[in-house]
């Protein structure tokens, strides 16, 4: 090996070391903040672990998973979680894109509206949840009073206290809070749409719906996919809104899987079962991620 080759090797080694040094902080973050808790949850899901009964410990095999699947509240909670996620993300998407298109028009006071629309998204969830709960109360809530005065309902209705409407009501509140995020993202994406092309299509006789479907919507496809993907995850694992507004009630009618996990872990202290359900949710989310990855990579190849 001559000197030149030697120098090249040293340079390569040094470059690699520098690369590792750059990765080190992120790796430490990943190991301590993500990997360790994740591994602990997976490990605990196969253990008998009850904080109240520490004497009974040991390997549980698949017992915790079987307990979760046999729990009579699991299937209703799974359907509630799916319904909660699908309805929330759909509502947010529709409202987000509609408001973005409206705010993209040259209207008077557009800057003010663009500023105002972000407000629901910056209100802390606890404050938003408690305020909506108060507004929806049948006996002294302003929304019920207004709706009754306007003749929309005959008498005040307990939106959060009835089995048929409790989850749907929280979905609406969740849509109200989350759609501004979509609006801002879509507004940014709309700035990239070629105005000349839209105007040319209009001159050629393309109607407003055709222009939206054929020119604008394809331009928003990428941002839509990212928004839907991250919101499916965020909504699926969301705990706080439902807990603050209904605690999963009445009669577990709005109980989702994260609420079940909380009850297993923090009320019954059965960490094994809580971890098993968490691992199942993790596996489901992983599946969604893999599907998304396969979809985008196939599309990119195409």
């Amino acid at each position: 090996m001559n000197n030149r080759e030697n120098r090249t090797l040293k340079r390569e080694t040094r470059s690699k070391l520098i690369a590792y040094a750059f990765i080190l902080p992120a790796l430490l973050f990943f190991l301590f903040i993500v990997a360790y808790p994740l591994f602990t949850v997976l490990w605990d899901s196969f253990q008998i672990k009850n904080l109240i009964n520490p004497e009974t410990q040991g390997f549980a095999g698949l017992d915790n998973y079987i307990s979760v699947l046999q729990n009579p509240n699991f299937i209703p909670a799974l359907w509630n979680t799916i319904g909660w996620t699908v309805l929330s993300v759909t509502g947010e998407y529709v409202l987000g894109i509609t408001s973005a298109l409206a705010l993209n028009q040259k209207i008077k006071g557009r800057a003010i509206f663009r500023g105002i629309i972000i407000i629901p998204w910056v209100v802390p969830i606890v404050i938003a949840g408690m305020t909506w709960t108060w507004m929806l109360t049948p006996d002294y809530g302003v929304l019920n009073i207004w709706m009754a005065d306007l003749g929309i309902i005959d008498e005040p209705y307990y939106w959060l206290g009835e089995k048929d409407t409790s989850l749907l009501t929280v979905v609406i509140v969740n849509i109200w809070r989350s759609f501004p995020f979509y609006t801002i993202c879509f507004l940014a994406a709309l700035q990239a749409v070629n105005r000349e092309m839209v105007e040319a299509a209009a001159i050629d006789g393309a109607g407003i719906i055709t222009r939206f479907r054929k020119i604008i919507l394809p331009e928003l496809k990428s941002v839509s996919m990212v928004l839907i993907f991250i919101h499916v995850i965020w909504t699926f694992i969301n705990f706080d809104f439902i807990w603050i507004m209904t605690q999963g009630g009445p009669a577990r009618a709005s109980e989702t899987l994260p609420i079940m996990i909380y009850k297993f872990a923090m009320e019954e202290f059965n960490v094994g079962i809580a971890s098993a359900l968490s691992s199942m949710m993790l596996a489901f989310m992983l599946l969604v991620f893999i599907m998304y990855y396969l979809y985008t990579s196939t599309k990119n190849k195409g």
Binding site: R14, L17, I18, A21, F22, L24, P25, L28, F29, F32, N50, L51, I52, N53, P54, E55, T56, T137, P138, D139, Y140, Y158, L160, G161, E162, K163, Q247, G249, P250, A251, R252, A253, K263, M266, E267, E268, F269, N270
Partner: protein
């Protein structure tokens, strides 16, 4: 260049590790000794309180704590204000991270859990040596005792009484509040016809719902979980048809209240907030409630406090009420158990209690000047508390059983059987079940 890059990456890594170290190391530092500049030792006591910020209780407590610090210059009380909704989660997390405070507020329902964690100090010897202990009713101390060891001391009592709007009752031609379930049930039409308002209120959900249910069960001479030999527990309704019949009667009572219009149809999902606020707004005439309802009545301003009175809850088989004991929990991990006990003793002194807990003191010598406090205090002797077991799964099952009859319109007997089975299942999971 390479050296600079190394430094750039090493510094954040080091800071990150430092952060982790700081998070994990707090248990060794909190609570605990700090060297003063003068070289003396300053003991810091971590105290988590759940008073309402700005309330009379909060302000007078702070004044008394300042006074205590002045009298004990080597002791600093580090007060953290945490509301009850967050207190439970914070305590559970800190206990399991071995980083509990030295002393905290809490609910009586948490006693079994915290004892199961092995988190609580044994206060038996301290209380035996304390002269003031004879001022605390025996049943209060018994409720805080597990396996012969006293595991907490009472902070204040939330005895439940029948709080009734005398004006509404009088307008309906009713002179006296109901003394029995039957009398209560007969009042529905009378009050609604005269005032247009409902007669009674309940909480069908949230923390308050199990507290009310245990009271009605006690009024029918039933225990949620009976203590058997060996300190283990069991629900015995399924083994005793008479008990099951009485448990069914309790759920039937709930169902009748709803079906007969005695209560608001929304009450099946009311939590304590709706129950208290609606009573304070004059939306119904009677409620089982605690001394704090006076503050809600005054803050809402819809009804006059002078029109509201307190008496024993309506009885069935026996007279009983829910004895809510809000305890001070003293934690095992403290480095200064004697000093923490001295601080707890100070908060249980007549001087402190007279300033802070005028209407709800656990001391028999400290009673409010007016009828209000006295009426509630007199109910202590008929008070029933939760059994000293881990209650998380049990209170969830109690809420579910109530929802079965109030929301799902299911058979009261099925609700009673479900509850009995779930209580024993939970006891079994927690290693507290008696096989007898």
């Amino acid at each position: 260049m390479a050296q600079r890059l190394w430094k750039i990456s090493i510094i954040p890594s080091f800071l990150f590790l430092l952060l982790l170290g700081a998070c994990g190391g707090s248990s060794e530092e909190s609570g605990k000794d700090n060297n003063q500049e003068g070289g003396g030792e300053d003991i810091v006591i971590d105290y988590w309180a759940a008073w309402d910020p700005g309330s009379q209780k909060a302000e007078s407590s702070k004044e008394m704590i300042n006074q205590y610090e002045e009298e004990n210059p080597d002791i600093t009380i580090d007060v953290q204000e945490i509301n009850f909704d967050q207190m439970y989660d914070n305590l559970v997390t800190s206990i399991n991270a071995n980083d509990a405070p030295d002393i905290s507020w809490g609910l009586g329902e948490w006693l079994g859990q915290f004892n199961g964690f092995g988190a609580l100090m044994d206060l038996t010897d301290y209380v035996e040596d304390w002269e003031g202990s004879d001022q605390i009713p025996d049943n209060v101390l018994e409720s805080l005792t597990i396996d012969g060891e006293l595991k907490a001391v009472p902070n204040y009592l939330g005895n439940r009484g029948l709080v009734y709007n005398e004006k509404m009752l009088n307008e309906s031609g009713i002179d006296e509040p109901p003394e029995t379930w039957d009398e209560l049930m007969d009042m529905d039409g009378q009050i609604e016809e005269a005032t247009g308002k409902k007669a009674f209120g309940i909480a069908g959900a949230g923390e308050r719902a199990p507290q009310e249910l245990i009271m009605y069960l006690a009024q029918n001479d039933l225990e949620l979980a009976a203590e058997m030999e060996g300190g283990m527990f069991k629900n015995t309704w399924q083994e005793n048809s008479d008990e099951m019949e009485r448990a069914t009667e309790v759920f039937q009572f709930y169902k009748d209240m709803l079906d007969n219009g005695l209560i608001n149809s929304n009450a099946s999902a009311w939590t304590w907030q709706e129950e208290d606020t609606n009573f304070a707004l004059g939306e119904y005439a009677m409620v089982i409630n605690g001394p704090w309802i006076r503050d809600t009545i005054n803050s809402e301003g819809a009804i006059d406090e002078d029109n509201v009175s307190v008496t024993s809850p309506p009885a069935n088989e026996v007279e009983a009420t829910f004895l809510e004991i809000s305890p001070f929990y003293l934690y095992e991990n403290t480095e200064h158990p004697d000093e923490v006990w001295e601080f707890a003793k100070f908060m249980l002194s007549e001087e402190f209690q007279s300033e802070v807990n005028t209407d709800d003191s656990p001391l028999s010598d400290v009673q409010g000047e007016d009828d209000w406090g006295q009426s509630f205090n007199e109910l202590t002797e008929i008070g029933t508390a939760f059994p000293q077991v881990s209650l998380g799964g049990i209170t969830n099952a109690m809420e579910d059983a109530l929802a079965m009859v109030l929301v799902n319109d299911e058979d009261p007997q099925e609700a009673a059987e479900f509850l009995s089975e779930e209580i024993n299942n939970t006891l079994q999971k927690n290693g507290e079940f008696s096989e007898e």
